[in-house]
Symmetry: C2
Subunit: 348 residues, 2 copies
Amino acid sequence: MSSGAFSRLTIDTNALKSNYRFLQDKVGPTCSVAGVVKADGYGLGVDVVVPALEKAGCTFFYVAQWEEALVVRSLTQHPIAVLGGLVEGLEKRYAHLGIVPVLNTPSEVARCPADLPAIWHIDTGMNRLGLDPEDVAGLFAKHPAPMMMMTHFTSSEDVDASPSQQQVSDFDAVAPVSIPQSICNSSGIFKSDLWHRNQVRAGVALYGANPTPETENPMSDVVKLETRILQIRSVKAGETAGYNRTYTFPKDTRLATVGLGYADGFLRSGSNSSALYWNGQACPVVGRVSMDLIIVDIGGVTGIQPQEGHWMEVIGPHQSVDQLATSWKTIGYEVLTSLSSRAERVIV
Amino acid sequence: MSSGAFSRLTIDTNALKSNYRFLQDKVGPTCSVAGVVKADGYGLGVDVVVPALEKAGCTFFYVAQWEEALVVRSLTQHPIAVLGGLVEGLEKRYAHLGIVPVLNTPSEVARCPADLPAIWHIDTGMNRLGLDPEDVAGLFAKHPAPMMMMTHFTSSEDVDASPSQQQVSDFDAVAPVSIPQSICNSSGIFKSDLWHRNQVRAGVALYGANPTPETENPMSDVVKLETRILQIRSVKAGETAGYNRTYTFPKDTRLATVGLGYADGFLRSGSNSSALYWNGQACPVVGRVSMDLIIVDIGGVTGIQPQEGHWMEVIGPHQSVDQLATSWKTIGYEVLTSLSSRAERVIV
């Protein structure tokens, strides 16, 4: 064992760059792909993600919060937009640092300094953040026009595109074509070329999750996560595994306990429902996921047998981010943003 | 707004110290309370937790992984035990740094240097990590005796103590009374004074979660989590909230969108099931929790109304760690270890 780490997260920056270029090719030269790097680059680390995206040609970044923008500012000279709005009291610092507020409320539009380039976010169905379309004409009458206008899809990954089409129509009704526009998230890019406009905002697809869940994933895998086997033991039929004995073994088998748990972002909802992989073979999680440890049943492994000290695959060629998410009853986004802070990071 | 932070985590070190002293009083002078500070002190930060526990009298710490021990070593001179075992190749470094391996496998016992104080972990029902009781006599015959022997309960928080009693009996059958013993976790401490022995290992109770779920929580609250309201809007009956429109409003109401999401550790399983609090009044989460944002229905608030920029309570006097966990279909441990890395931290 070269280090003491119990888990290892490998990030393939070539795959990340390739994903960026694939999306840029897809939207063509009249549209640019902005990189969404909020939540520490969806859990991969902005220090790794921002320079790689910049090398691939990215010239505009989005974060969720002001303090994320400060970190990203230390990594790139390009504009950074803050989706979470214009923090009261910090208005002058945005211009000073080349940080672009995404204005979500009429009061933010009113507070925005006249010389600060800003994006207006029009809410067309999320009811989360954004300006009411009914208010937009009045804001144009009273305030300087924004550098860009955006909206956000509620369900662009769904096969049924009609709700997204309705959102685009509602957006178009208030957004003059003379101002640059940004509508699409990752899934939206694949739904209609008519929605690409001037800029798309790529997030989860850059990091390898499937933006087109109904078809094969067009993106390359960026993340691999492995964990060490700390102990192997034999158990008899009728014995149980883990906290509160939620799993009883139907027959004699062998178990591997690995050094990964919910404190590493392997959510507890994977108890008795997820699997890890050994040499391409699924080994089911038995019993509850605990804080630092998971037990898997390796009794079905054929061929070379796993040993204490070996690595098992958590995310990799046999289990995608999206597949793991399904076994946790969630989505790939949450798998990525939960990724281990205790893991040893390997940057390829 | 004094800073740009969208969430604020307050840690009450006096409550933490008070919890430590309460447990030490409970076990009495013949037993010592070790502090379990794995997973970055259950998400609170070892840099805060370890010095506070030491001031309260703690002289022995547990972590899960070797690399956690290195961090804790920079914070205290007291012994630190690594539950995850004796990492192969690093055996000599344990002694050098005063780090105590918890030996879980016969091969770890065999690899352990004769002059390195170690703890033997006997597995009595978890089937996770630990020595098989059948192997213990043979190990005593061949290897130096450990400084302590331990085991770990599967379900000490259950009202039915008989499985725990069976585990203690199985432990006692192989653990000579001449060697110090450690059996209890937080819940076990409250189940039987006969199980306290020489050392108990307190984790989640120190951080304020209830070790006795069937009765009132004897511990003091340590953690408070708040989040900023970024936008307030009115919606009409029949409108929807958030991704995939999973919630439809039965009547006109008002919404607050706050700057906290699953990337901050507010798990997505809280979608449409959790609540935040305003002035002691529950405001239900409507729609899906998104990466950086949550929408709550504030239409039922009476009295002073929440405004953009105000803070709402996520964890605090009106919603305990355990109550929030229930709304996520999990346990307080997972709430704590998921706590926001983006939050502004306030240490009281």
